[in-house]
Symmetry: D2
Amino acid sequence: MDRIPKHPMGKKHMIQAGIVGFRGYSGAELFRILARHPRVTAWRMEHRADAAPELQPRHQKTAPTIMATPEAAVEAGLDVVFLATPHDVSMELTPALLEAGIRVVDLSGAFRLREPEIHKRWYGDDHSAQELLRNAVYGLPEFYRERISGARFVSNPGCYPTAANLALRPLVQSGLVDRSVPVVCDAKSGVSGAGRKASLKTSFCEAGDNFSVYSAFGHRHVPEVLQNSGLEENEFHFVAQLLPTPRGILETIYLRLREGAGKGDVLAAYDEAYRSEPFVRVYDPGQFPDLHAVQHTNFCDIGFKFEEASRMLVVVAVEDNLVKGAAGQAVQNMNLMFGFAETEGLL
Amino acid sequence: MDRIPKHPMGKKHMIQAGIVGFRGYSGAELFRILARHPRVTAWRMEHRADAAPELQPRHQKTAPTIMATPEAAVEAGLDVVFLATPHDVSMELTPALLEAGIRVVDLSGAFRLREPEIHKRWYGDDHSAQELLRNAVYGLPEFYRERISGARFVSNPGCYPTAANLALRPLVQSGLVDRSVPVVCDAKSGVSGAGRKASLKTSFCEAGDNFSVYSAFGHRHVPEVLQNSGLEENEFHFVAQLLPTPRGILETIYLRLREGAGKGDVLAAYDEAYRSEPFVRVYDPGQFPDLHAVQHTNFCDIGFKFEEASRMLVVVAVEDNLVKGAAGQAVQNMNLMFGFAETEGLL
Amino acid sequence: MDRIPKHPMGKKHMIQAGIVGFRGYSGAELFRILARHPRVTAWRMEHRADAAPELQPRHQKTAPTIMATPEAAVEAGLDVVFLATPHDVSMELTPALLEAGIRVVDLSGAFRLREPEIHKRWYGDDHSAQELLRNAVYGLPEFYRERISGARFVSNPGCYPTAANLALRPLVQSGLVDRSVPVVCDAKSGVSGAGRKASLKTSFCEAGDNFSVYSAFGHRHVPEVLQNSGLEENEFHFVAQLLPTPRGILETIYLRLREGAGKGDVLAAYDEAYRSEPFVRVYDPGQFPDLHAVQHTNFCDIGFKFEEASRMLVVVAVEDNLVKGAAGQAVQNMNLMFGFAETEGLL
Amino acid sequence: MDRIPKHPMGKKHMIQAGIVGFRGYSGAELFRILARHPRVTAWRMEHRADAAPELQPRHQKTAPTIMATPEAAVEAGLDVVFLATPHDVSMELTPALLEAGIRVVDLSGAFRLREPEIHKRWYGDDHSAQELLRNAVYGLPEFYRERISGARFVSNPGCYPTAANLALRPLVQSGLVDRSVPVVCDAKSGVSGAGRKASLKTSFCEAGDNFSVYSAFGHRHVPEVLQNSGLEENEFHFVAQLLPTPRGILETIYLRLREGAGKGDVLAAYDEAYRSEPFVRVYDPGQFPDLHAVQHTNFCDIGFKFEEASRMLVVVAVEDNLVKGAAGQAVQNMNLMFGFAETEGLL
């Protein structure tokens, strides 16, 4: 927090925040949120890899733009840089930014897995900034709030793992899950989850009026769930599918409760975990959230139903993949890093 | 087949087919298929319960229209009547039509469950035509072709059970499924599956850009799957969800293979079951069909992927809910009932 | 402004605002905006005609709810009531609310046309509150800001006329339009423009993947354009069409410029009219806004192109029908009525 | 017709038809139609410019594939080749195919404009096969049936001009149009009209939930309308817009009738033109077709409304851009070229 006192804004601190990747969907959402945030001045940072035309430039024209380099960031007096970039770009930019004394929130997958060999197994490359892997704080505030509060470097969770971990961890940690039966997560995401690039798969004519499986059992987000939910390898099975809608994730999760457990235990576990959480809402048993409940918000909503006879539990977790699944959660993390109210700019 | 020879059409028999419920989505699709069918003259039959304006009346104006009564059907010389009606209307019309010597293909759920008490448990009413329940032939040609061929009364399968039974039965019957682990079917359907009636839930503003769970563990189609797949109660868990697209069903089915079984066994089981089937297509392991592959066709396409380490299998089955899931399958059944080529009018 | 000083909130006045019709799309949007508005406490007001389940009740559960009567409004200490109701309900509630000293912003068409006989011609009924017709201030701030600022009763413009008048009035008033040639407005609206009621026309299956004309030359919004744009009867021709998207209006307007006029004159007329306007953005000649530019905002964006050889001008105006076309503009009016900053709660 | 008698198929001739560009939307639609056509064997022809993966290869796997060269076409015994290719590819392939004795139906814009200088003005390049420009028969059967019937080379009309010419020509030729007032055509097309190539503009996230103007007053299809409708330069004004739906075109056309003319004259003009046409349906005055009326069919449907006081007429013409606007019309032309029934394979 050393830099903050330099801003003599009367009763409120203001910080300077840069966004690399502001032309993508997550980056543009981040810009929209930060532009309205009462404690932040937002800067656009151009990276050599940028190509796409800006989304709604009209909205953004007043923001200053600088190059995405540590030098430019220092010169501009930035306090924090958000990296809404591919994971190789994040690996390249993060060390130099941190060294220049600038905090970093990385939205890519570069620093989410703690072990270099697990990173290599799922991402396919040797990690070029291994020494930072263990310094990165995994930015899921509902579980790691304290560590985030003091952090200079936060790795923002993946969109799917955010919902899956929020749905699963309280149940696993309370010992409610029958571990002899596989946990299945049938996940559906809106098309913006694929990022902003021209491709036939995400074209209107081919993704519209359609629904398709695009990853079965091998998605990079699986180890992020294992690392944070308490489930072990081969206990969690994940399929990712493409919904014909621009934004929103719904995960339908199936598991068996251990003998003797029932819906009251599920409710109690969620209540204990989320009673005081501003961004997680748990529904009454038998009620399920839909995408409309969370689009354009930072909420993750959770509903469930339990069938006594089979002890099967279905949990439904929804979020906006660009907000709680990316930009909104990044701002929630920033709020914690800088000592702002956690919900500032997000309600 | 007694009535057929009366049509002296030279080298081809023609039959007269009536449709009750031609204003609904399944009924309109049936009309479209029958209007092009080379062996059929299609009649529209008006029922007192009809209210909605006709879909695309311009296309249908040349078809004769009669009242939906056995007398009118006899007078018109109908050979077969399709009931695309609510299940109570089907229970009412079927006995009289059969008695009048007219064959019936019922698209409702009225006659799909063999046991009256199971019908009552899932549909909530006492069956008013119990004596016919056991006479009804369940019209899934891939499994019951012989019985359908001689039938005067066919009960057309539900949309979800068609795909689920085609995906599951070959695996269950080959003994490949580890029965100690629950089979999960995560089903998604286009909005036309809800039928053609004005409702907020299926309005453009509320179903569009959305995705929602509408039935968890308690759908009426569950007993149809149990009755035909070989799975037992509490072994099969089903959740139904609403896709923001007009038509198409995709079911993602999760199960564990018994020890020792692998993807070759799955492929062999499907190959044995569907090698000669005109309307079931099995994909190479690891390849999945999407909705575009089957919309507006009578195909059910099946893909799967097996994970060695966990023995988990995911099977994806897709169909057009209005075609293979309703009207197309009804015509496939009619073709069998009247001795026509099974694919006539359907390719 | 008499009631306002009663709120002793330190440096800021707060007002109490009620919403009748909060279950509809415009009313729910109004609720969302007011719930975040720093100067307003929002109340839900239940009317006997209400039937639909609430949209996202989870978001709204903290708001107080009272009956939609003048007595309840007085008892609750409301300063203003928004009527997001059918025009007959507005005619009934408005006089009593005003008499009880409560300001009114009416979002219906009840008080938009100044002359009772014109109202009767287009709405088909005798106006039951004729004496108020001339007291109502037409709430298009870009043209009537001064009158709105002192108003106790504002009639909020229709969605189509807002965009059409913003596009046309500066050109008509500058004398740029060749009046010998008809002005054509080809208008397209998202489905929420039809209101929130179950109907086959606005069902997902029938409005989706479709586009249709629903009103040609006879829409009730035509006289609102004539009354405010400066065009005369038979000079303006309007067709309304249904877009397969939930929200947004785009109007493509065709007219011929008078001899000697060119694109510079068009730009100058718009610049003079909108240079200082916070919610109207004029694009460079040849650039056109799309729906994404304005959805979920209170902006009306305008683009145009001029063809020298034929002197034809095409103007494209877009807005979110639920925001600048309804709820957002209503709040903009409220801000003016109560002396708040015009953009408060709207950026 | 010299080649046809060589096929000794009993009572029916069969022809061999090749498709270049079968991976695109029009080409794939053409393949679907031809694959069901009772008089045709369809061949896929690979062109070096092809890149996209095939649409639904599963459906097409049985068709033979050859290179897109005149030699391969001759060797395969092709009777006709359809070019669903960019206009420069069509200019290159057409002369050699014709010289090799193979008939050609070109779906590109290469040969639609009779005058080389007009081609250059709108397409920007010198025509490389000018000598063929005047040999090409413009394939709009409703107006040029006789010439098409004897043709070896047909240039298939553009999607927009098909609807516009069908809507306008009968009115212009009957002298009903007040030529002193501009004719305005406000056109909307589904996204498949943009062709099958990856681009941000046609991505699901950017074209979905959107509506945009993409061409105002300068579209290449304008001269095709002038050439065939009877209107002169500066009398016809055209704006093209992108609908968030995969397929379908709706054109809303505005014009003033000459003094003395009325809706009876309009009806009479259309009746005279289309009474016997199998693929043009004219609606009762005041009734308008929507996209659902024509999607997946070869129909062009026309509705209109006349306003006495202003003499303004609005005409609405709809078609499926991939069928009557491309592949269906191409097959209609082929049927005429080879003496088949005009509707064969198209109903």
